[in-house]
């Protein structure tokens, strides 16, 4: 197997690293030099991967423009050769790469915008779960409510933005000119999930963000109401908690609402 193994190693090094050793393994055709023919594979490699990134990060591409996005894509391709069979996952490190690699890291909204696109894509084809409905909640006996625990839909993820990347996303998504990048006075919590077949996101106000984070850890509804009272004041605390809960149910955010949702599911829920 040495021969085939070595040949494939040289061929790959020729594509990824520009190594010319493989040219000695290749014939000229009757019309074309071997360097030109091998160049078809070399050129296609970077073009194809850049196209995958452009597709997966369409709005980041629009925001940066062709030249800057091409710089980002080429730097990423060089740093992260694809290690998965499915091209769907090739670009999964791009947001972290943009956050940590100059000059992109100097503009924090770039990594956050890419992160939002990735989170939406992950929600789009993430795991299925049947959402709990308001009718199902209404059927639960009132005395059980304080003991209710909640499991988020498996696609639901929270992220914290230091910039107005969410506003930039919304403008670009509408085909409008994006606002200039700004650092927010306080980090903003963004919740991303899939409702039926549509990936969505919305910013959470601090109180709802707190309640969602605690609910996702498995904290029971009675305690959640006390936490809301402590966080935002006792007046109307239960009503505020119930309103958040209704919103979650109306938008397909919960996969289980019960005094005894399975512990194994709660482990999944704590990640959200």
């Amino acid at each position: 197997m040495t021969s085939l193994k070595d040949l494939q190693a040289r061929f790959q090094a020729g594509i990824v690293g520009g190594d010319d050793a493989v040219l000695s393994d290749i014939n000229d055709s009757s019309r074309e030099d071997r360097r030109v023919l091998f160049g078809v594979y070399r050129n296609a490699y970077v073009i194809r991967l850049a196209e995958i990134l452009g597709h997966d990060y369409e709005l980041t591409h629009t925001y940066l423009g062709d030249t800057a996005f091409s710089d980002l894509a080429h730097a990423y391709i060089a740093a992260h050769p694809s290690d998965k069979r499915n091209a769907r996952w090739f670009g999964r490190y791009l947001p972290d790469f943009a956050r940590s690699t100059a000059p992109f890291s100097e503009h924090k909204e770039i990594g956050e915008l890419a992160g939002l696109e990735k989170a939406l894509a992950d929600a789009f084809d993430g795991p299925d779960a049947r959402p709990v409905t308001m009718e199902e909640l209404a059927a639960i006996a009132p005395e059980d409510w304080p003991n209710l625990v909640f499991i988020p839909h498996p696609t639901a993820v929270r992220t914290r933005f230091k910039t107005n990347a969410a506003d930039i996303w919304m403008a670009l998504s509408d085909g409008a000119a994006p606002p200039g990048p700004v650092l927010l006075p306080e980090p903003q919590t963004i919740l991303v999930w899939r409702q039926d077949l549509t990936a969505r996101f919305r910013p959470l106000a601090p109180e709802e963000a707190m309640m969602w984070a605690e609910a996702a850890k498995g904290v029971r509804f009675g305690i959640l109401c006390e936490m809301v009272a402590t966080f935002g004041g006792e007046d109307g605390a239960e009503l505020r908690a119930a309103t958040y809960l209704k919103t979650w149910l109306d938008t397909g955010l919960l996969a289980c609402v019960s005094p005894d949702c399975a512990q194994s599911d709660l482990v999944m829920g704590t990640a959200h």
Binding site: S30, L37, F38, D83, A87, D125, D128
Partner: protein, 288 residues
Amino acid sequence: MDFAVTDHRPPYLGFGLGLRPQHYEDILSGNPDIDWFEVISENYMVPGGKPLRILDRICERYPIVMHGVSLSIASTAPLDMDYLTELKRLADRVDPKWISDHLCWTGVHGVNLHDLLPVPYTAEALDHVIERVRRVQDFLGRRLTLENVSSYVTFAESEMSEWDFVSEVAERADCWLLFDVNNVYVSSYNHGFSVSEFLHGVPRHRVVQFHLAGHSHEGEHIVDTHDHPVCGEVWDFYRETVSHFGPVSTMIERDDNIPPLAELVAELDVARRIAREVKSGRTMAAAG
């Protein structure tokens, strides 16, 4: 392994298209004249959501064939068991008429280049591919269907023709073949062989599917881009191919510059017409 369940030749499906997201709505809301769909396996090897929901609905209405792009059967890297497990899971959901991929490799050393890379036609590569096809078939519990790829280079160490290599793989690994009409044309131009020689060099009883596609002519070589309609030369070769093989499930691949569905259905009608003309020509010849 004895493939008792799928021992027989896969059914003739007629004329199909590659399923692309741009056409989901037209397919589900209309009743396009398409006999079957080929799906890119990797596009549906995801946890859930819309792609799989749509695929389930298409499966209820049309026969489906799964076509992969990253099996990397000729790679010297170990078989990717995670990939194969996911592929099998999708096959259990879809119940495809057959599962195909390419006679090529896509990377080594833990890297995937997302391209269909050429194989040297040597006895060593032959033994390697055959052994891997057998293992994959054992794992999947069904025969694979392997497609000849377009290639842009030939290797100094090759010891046989592409069609001899393809034929040996099919016979010794006991798998089916997907005869890509456009790929034979592209490679014949790039490497200067005769399409007819390839056509007549492949075992007829192994071929269960045809691919048709467009390409980009760069003057001194042709690149298999799937972004144009099928060209006249490839239609001529398709006519010769149908004459030689008889009725074989045929589909058109379009992966870039994807036109409205109606345009592809019209292109598929050209394939139907050619197959009809070949058939009636044969009937007339038999009657005469």
